[in-house]
């Protein structure tokens, strides 16, 4: 009964609020329009004065993807002391990031520092006019400014000329065309350079029982479900275009999905599928099952994660792979010839980096936000957040960094968790991964429209990407015939807004070139 009274009280209080403000809607939605903006900008001035080189730590609210950072942990405390801040971190699992942020923003609850993953959210934030232009402040924050080269900042530049975001810098791309060298050797084959040679290799690794277990359970490659169909990039690329990718053709922007060459590529893939060279479960596999398969070594010739080349076990690929395949050895190969006059390599991720970070324009403590980002992007801050302190948590052996603490301790100290505009360091990686990075970088193609944000892209493109993915895979597995089916798809693609989008993208691209 007590509980009921409690609820009753709560209810009564709530009712009072309603009546007081006329309607709840009146107060809730009215305030997130102009009121908080003017409010906090007036506070911003006073905040700016007190927190300059203030004695009191400045309270900052951060909205970050969840890393289980614990309040009072070693790394968090260290960063707070180094930047004279007190960090309140709202941590959200990657999947729920957008949803949660939308709720907070809709109720006028702006964090000081915001991290977002999807381009949808990014586009929304960029067009809101509520973000801090970093470039206007960064002469005072040289580390932040120097964290990226001119080229990257250019990609980050929004159409109003300002730069609002910094991403986590990763090597790019993270995929590579790889072959099982031990299997090639076993069958006396060379690394393929043409589509015909590739077919022979694919056939050998899937049909000649390379692992010798008597079962038909090896394949050229598989894939998992994400809309960019990048698992087929080595074939599509050989035919000169990449689906769901913008490309430059005679100075104009076109989409790879609807290029006529793709029809032949689909036929090639369909033949591979019918011959049992592609893992038939690529349609249903999720990322985890695909990873499990890669690590157990059932794939011999196709696009794979570059991680597997790091003998120091980056992202835990190499070790499990070696455990299941003691003789297993991987080697990467070039873009395949013989499909198109101008073959292209595999796709790159956006140069803007993973998880972009923004500062709220009307934050009470803009300078503290900048100070924090500046410290995190400094060499000291970047190395500390990933490895800790020299002598205590790691040491140098020549140019290679050796960790003195194990993974569990790293976790306990909250090291390797503050990924906010960092550059990912590979001080502890094996030389093989650097070779792979260099190689993949020469063999890939960048998207000319990287960094372009227009409304149409946000509204139409996701649907078209989905459509492409659906129709392409239907054609590869033979649910829809390629003859006729491809032409229908192209028509559908254009009629669902593809024509409008292509024109708009081209226009935006041309404008950016000027």
């Amino acid at each position: 009964m007590k509980k009921n009274k409690m609820i009753g009280k709560m209810a009564a209080a709530g009712m009072a609020v309603c009546l007081f403000a006329g309607t709840v809607t009146g107060c809730s939605s009215g305030t997130n329009g102009d009121a908080p903006a003017s409010n906090s900008s007036s506070q911003a001035e006073t905040g700016g004065q007190t927190s300059d080189k203030g004695e009191e730590p400045v309270h900052l609210k951060l909205f970050l993807t969840n890393k289980n950072i614990v309040d009072g942990s070693y790394a968090k405390t260290y960063i707070e002391e180094a930047t004279n801040t007190k960090l309140e971190i709202v941590q959200v699992a990657t999947k729920d990031l957008d949803n949660k942020l939308n709720m907070m923003l809709a109720s006028g609850d702006w964090p000081d520092i915001i991290q977002c993953e999807t381009e949808t959210m990014e586009s929304k934030l960029l067009s809101s006019g509520k973000l801090l232009p970093l470039n206007e402040y960064w002469d005072d924050y040289p580390n932040l400014k120097n964290a990226r080269d001119e080229e990257t900042w250019d990609v980050m530049r929004y159409n109003d000329g300002n730069i609002y975001a910094i991403g986590i810098k990763n090597p790019n791309p993270l995929s590579i065309i790889a072959y099982r060298k031990d299997w090639l050797d076993k069958f006396g084959l060379d690394i393929p350079t043409t589509l015909d040679e590739y077919y022979e290799v694919a056939k050998a690794v899937s049909k000649n029982d390379p692992d010798g277990d008597g079962l038909d359970n090896t394949f050229a490659f598989g894939g998992y479900q994400n809309v960019d169909t990048s698992w087929f990039d080595h074939i599509f690329g050989a035919y000169g275009a990449l689906p769901n990718y913008w490309m430059l053709q005679d100075g104009h922007i076109v989409n790879g999905s609807v290029q006529p060459e793709m029809k032949e590529a689909l036929m090639y893939l369909n033949r591979m599928y019918n011959d049992g060279l592609i893992d038939p479960e690529f349609v249903t596999d999720d990322a985890k099952r695909w990873q499990q398969k890669v690590k157990s070594g059932i794939y011999g010739a196709g696009v794979t994660k570059i991680h597997i080349f790091d003998k120091n076990n980056w992202s835990n690929y190499y070790k499990p792979f070696k455990e299941s395949n003691p003789d297993g050895e991987l080697v990467y190969g070039p873009v395949l010839q013989g499909g198109s006059e101008n073959p292209v390599g595999i796709r790159m991720a956006s140069e803007r980096g993973w998880l972009r970070t923004f500062i709220y324009k009307d934050s009470k403590n803009v300078d503290a936000c900048l100070r924090l980002l500046d410290w995190l992007t400094s060499e000291e801050g970047n190395r500390f957040t990933q490895y800790g302190l020299e002598g205590e948590h790691y040491k140098w052996e020549g140019d290679k960094l050796v960790k003195l603490i194990d993974e569990e301790q790293t976790n306990e100290l909250d090291l390797n968790k503050f990924f906010i505009g960092n550059t990912v360091l590979f001080d502890d990686a094996s030389p093989e991964i650097f070779d792979a990075f260099d190689y993949s970088h020469t063999e890939c193609i960048a998207e000319p429209t990287d960094g372009i944000f227009i409304d149409e892209l946000n509204e139409i493109y996701p649907k078209l990407e989905e459509l492409t993915n659906t129709r392409y895979i239907e054609m590869i597995v033979g649910e829809v015939p390629i003859e006729g089916g491809f032409e229908d798809f192209v028509e559908e693609w254009y009629s669902r807004g593809g024509d409008k989008l292509t024109a708009a993208m081209d226009e935006a691209y041309q404008a950016k070139q000027k």
């Binding site: 509980k3 609820i7 809730s28 289980n68 614990v70 709720m103 993974e407 390797n416 502890d428």
Partner: protein, 286 residues
């Protein structure tokens, strides 16, 4: 009554059927348990996980090494116990009047509670309202928002209705008021249905996840489901490059499922004893 026990073909078939169904339906959970004990390095794509592949407790060790797990567990227990108590109190207090045929305005009140089952304000408006009430970042937001479930309310109303009118009239004649009738006659007769509804509510609270992520910011207030999901998200996030987490995300996920499911399935056997037959009969005679 005292007929000799004769095993009929029906009985044999019935038992056989349930053995089969039991095996089919217990398999997913069995799979999860066996997977959670399996050695990640021996993961075998063709295993059905009838037994663990290898044996290790590393996934559990990893989970229990997280201090936040205990906080999450306690939050979930609080949410479930207090939440279910609130649910039951409110639902009984609503369902009983709604089950009284003669209550003037009954049709209106019924429509009033059924309408929100079909129409809701949506996620953002609800969030704004919860924020107005000052409940954000508090477990009370979840208890408040989920205080009555219309489905459970209507089922409970139906159960109350099935209590013979004569019993209630008799109590009235004995001078019992409505509240006393509810407490002394109706509730004791409805143990099975109350147990059922309580179970539904408790499970709903225990499994609740979506609103917890939306309404609760502070990690020390997260219920178990959110804590575990976030650890999984962290362990599994392939994009988080140099973080060389060697824990296999799948094994870990399975272990977390076992950890979350075990406490709530322990509740059921306690409720099962109320599912005994002939409760009604005994009391009618008495």
């Amino acid at each position: 009554m005292a007929r000799k026990k004769k095993i009929s073909p029906f009985t044999v078939l019935n038992y056989a059927l349930f053995v089969l169904i039991g095996i089919i339906m217990v398999y997913p959970f069995w799979y999860v348990v066996m997977y959670s004990f399996s050695d990640p390095s021996r993961s075998d794509l063709s295993s059905l996980y009838l037994w663990p592949e290898g044996f290790t407790l590393s996934a559990y060790a990893y989970a229990f090494s997280k201090k936040i797990l205990l906080t999450g567990f306690l939050n979930s227990v609080f949410l479930t116990v207090v939440g279910t108590a609130v649910n039951m109190a409110l639902s009984v207090m609503l369902a009983y009047p709604l089950s009284r045929e003669k209550l003037p305005g009954k049709r209106f009140f019924s429509a009033f509670v059924i309408f929100p089952m079909l129409f809701s304000g949506g996620m953002i408006p609800t969030y704004l309202v919860i924020k107005q009430y000052g409940l954000l970042d508090s477990l009370w937001s979840l208890i408040g928002y989920m205080a009555v479930n219309v489905y459970n309310l209507l089922i409970l109303t139906k159960f109350f209705k099935s209590i013979p009118e004569s019993l209630i009239e008799a109590a009235k004649i004995d001078g019992c008021g409505d509240v006393m009738t509810l407490i002394q006659i109706v509730l004791p007769l409805s143990k099975a249905s109350l147990a059922t509804i309580a179970l539904f509510y408790a499970v709903q609270h225990w499994n609740e996840f979506l609103y917890s992520t939306i309404y609760i910011n502070t990690d020390s207030k997260w219920p178990l489901q959110v804590v575990l999901r976030n650890i999984i998200d962290m362990v599994a996030n392939d994009l988080n490059n140099s973080g060389a987490v060697t824990m296999n995300p799948e094994n870990f996920k399975m272990a977390t499922i076992v950890i979350t499911v075990i406490p709530i399935i322990c509740v059921y056997p306690f409720l099962q004893k109320y599912f005994t037959k002939g409760v009604m009969m005994g009391s009618v005679k008495g």
